[in-house]
């Protein structure tokens, strides 16, 4: 036993010495290797690997953009890590940014978080306004502005946006005696959300049994709020959601629609809401381009072609992403170039044609990939043009760091209560109490 222990110890010492020696030798070999002159920058197989941290389905890979870039730049290899939910992705990103560790070369940021990232982490991210080749004028003004700090640093390049239109069921509209032509439908409510609710009242009079005019109070409220320039914060960063008349009137209008039974009492993206899509239980929904994909995913096959898209009373934005480059990354310059290329008009147009993510670069809107875009859910509706028109009329929105908390409070602790019989005033009181508590540091 003892002898064995001793030999074992000897073996450990020997192994340690051997590995040390090997390490030294390897070190020497490495040195000489470097002298012979390789320019790979430490990547695998003589290539520089650029890593991307993404959430949800950005679709760069699916659209074949990585392969294309790798072909254009033979010394680059692209690797992505995708987290399904932004709710899981963003806290980790915050953690990595505060500790400056575990970051990928490129990190995506959702529009709901971009204000917080811009205000809190600008010093740790590359300022694209100083990167050569990046043209501010390529992007929609408001999109560029959202990732820009007060002193003019732009820390993210916009990829997609979510210009909102109203998707409606032609068959249900017809049964309820409403027009079905998309221009006439749009004219029903041009410029005024009250008219949309009025159209809902008309719908309800002759509505097919069991159907509602719209899908949920949260969806309607979001659409109305998003079409305002100022919503929850003013441009100086002060929280104004309670005193902003636009928010209160949006809330009251949604509450009115809920009281009259024009919206079905559901919360979006929950299983029970999903099943109302499959069962054709509502006639209209506020929809950014990506919602068409969601509708398709939840619908039965026979729903294809029964939808159409009309302009919203006022256009708003719902969703969208930015690409940022942390300064502490290993390949900052290469990452800058890749982010720039991925968000260029030609690439974003391709992304739209494959994934339905709508470009934030107006230059894409005249490209055939966008103008000729068609979609199975809406038969032959020229969705590229409709959404591009919406995108151009979206106001330059002031977004705040805690927009998400305010929005969630108004929806999940506010208007939904009206569908349960609470008065609009009570629902507003519950919502504001919750929001104030959640905003209080």
């Amino acid at each position: 036993m003892r002898a064995r222990f001793r030999t074992a110890r000897k073996a450990v010492v020997l192994a340690a010495a051997a590995s040390l020696g090997a390490g030294l030798l390897a070190g020497c070999a490495n040195d000489s290797g470097d002298k012979s002159g390789s320019t790979d920058g430490g990547g695998s197989g003589g290539k520089t690997t650029i890593t991307l941290g993404l959430f949800g389905t950005q679709g760069f890979k699916e659209a074949g953009l990585y392969t294309e870039y790798e072909k254009l730049h033979p010394n680059i290899k692209i690797q992505e890590t995708v987290v399904e939910q932004n709710g899981n992705y963003y806290p980790a990103l915050v953690n990595h940014l505060t500790t400056n560790s575990g970051l990928q070369d490129i990190q995506a940021v959702e529009v709901g978080n971009i204000a917080e990232v811009t205000q809190t982490f600008a010093s740790k991210l590359v300022d694209f306004s100083k990167v050569s080749g990046v043209n501010k004028s390529d992007w929609l003004g408001w999109k560029w502005q959202q990732a820009t700090t007060k002193d003019g640093q732009t820390i993210g390049l916009g990829t997609d946006i979510g210009p909102m239109a109203i998707c409606y069921r032609k068959d249900l509209f017809q049964q309820a005696g409403l027009p079905t032509d998309r221009d006439k439908v749009g004219q029903l409510w041009t410029g005024d959300w009250n008219k949309l609710v009025a159209a809902g009242e008309t719908y309800k009079k002759k509505a097919p049994a069991g159907t509602y005019f719209m899908d949920s109070p949260g969806g309607l409220l979001n659409a109305i709020i998003s079409s305002n320039q100022e919503k929850f914060y003013d441009s100086s960063g002060k929280v104004i959601y309670k005193s902003n008349p636009a928010i209160k009137s949006a809330f009251d209008l949604t509450a009115k629609a809920a009281q009259e039974g024009l919206v079905q009492p559901q919360t979006q993206f929950q299983p029970s809401w999903n099943s109302t899509i499959a069962n054709n239980k509502f006639a209209a929904i506020a929809c950014p381009p990506w919602m068409l994909g969601y509708l398709k995913g939840q619908s039965k096959p026979d729903a294809a072609g029964k939808w159409d898209v009309a302009a919203a009373p006022k256009a708003g934005n719902w969703g969208g992403t930015f690409l940022t480059v942390p300064k502490s990354g290993k390949h900052v310059t290469e990452a800058e170039k890749l982010a720039q290329w991925l968000t260029a008009p030609a690439q974003l147009a391709k992304l739209f044609s494959v994934q339905g993510s709508f470009p934030s670069t107006p230059g894409s809107y005249s490209m055939p990939l966008v103008t000729n875009a068609k979609n199975a859910m809406t038969a032959d509706a020229p969705i590229g043009k409709i959404f591009a028109d919406a995108a151009k009329s979206i106001p330059a929105q002031v977004i705040g760091p805690k927009d998400q908390i305010v929005q969630d409070g108004l929806t999940n602790n506010g208007v939904i209560l009206v569908t349960k019989g609470k008065s609009a005033a009570d629902a507003w009181a519950t919502a504001t109490k919750t929001i104030d508590n959640n905003l209080d540091k």
Binding site: T98, N412, N413, N437
Partner: protein
Amino acid sequence: MATQHDAAAPPAKEGGAAPARPPAEPTEAELRRRARLSRRWQRDLKWSPYGFISPFFLLFVAFGLFPLVYTAWASLHTVELTAPTDMQWTGLHNYTRIFDDDFFWNAARNTLTIGIISTVPQLAMAMGLAHILNYKLRASTFYRVVMLAPYATSIAAASLVFVLLFGRDYGMINWALHHVGVGKIDWQNDKWPSQIAVSSIIIWRWTGYNALIYLAAMQAIPQDLYESAALDGANRWRQFIHVTLPQLRPTILFTCVVSTIGASQVFGEPLIFDANKAASGGAEHQFQTLGLYLYEQGWVNQHLGRASAIAWTMFLILIVIGIVNYVISRRLRASS
């Protein structure tokens, strides 16, 4: 035959047959060497055990003590998760505001009510199940494994089923109730239905676990107690009341303590019950527990300081509950 010398025994070595020489006096160097070894031996004896247990304590310091001290420190500051190094001293503000925080007390009440409507039926059912399992049954191992299956199931997976069961419009429970003439119950949005639904998930999950604990304790009860009870004419029910229950008293106390601690930390079940509203525990916070409120403040709203204060307040409440438990159990033990 002449002796062959080359095959003869070799001459005896030193000390061969003679008594050995007394050992030589150890030299100075040898003594030093021995003293050194002995010192090393002593040190080894004294410190090695600490070395062997150190991994646990190092991990405890890193993952137990440090967070404890850090949250205590953070609870005295205004500090956000987005900038954990940027702390502003606020003294006891985070604690004093808890007294006026309706959401905290609402969560505390919910934790209490959900705790009661989940723990009491759970333990009663576990006792009944254990009593049945204690009879001679065919395939008893099978039933015991089945008992434990919910406990082993991932709560996230189970939640999918429960959310569908409790759906308002297309849920199976409302469908069944409809057939016995009960109208649609909004399991997620009404206060008591939502608390009952959350409790039912907890009950489903933990009943089998407690039943197995009771069963183990029941099997340790001496058989002759039952035999003499039977001789005295006690039926099964009387045996259960007068033999089983008194014998199980310490076990029941144990499960009560464990369940109370579990109930005060309920988190997963209400969190997954309404995935969209997540940590807010329903539109009117009707099933938001303390665990959820803590999570909402810390991870959704990113108020690290407030969340730390809530965590410490919960800890203090738990200590009070623990003391009450201890006093009650001592009284019970004294009375028996």
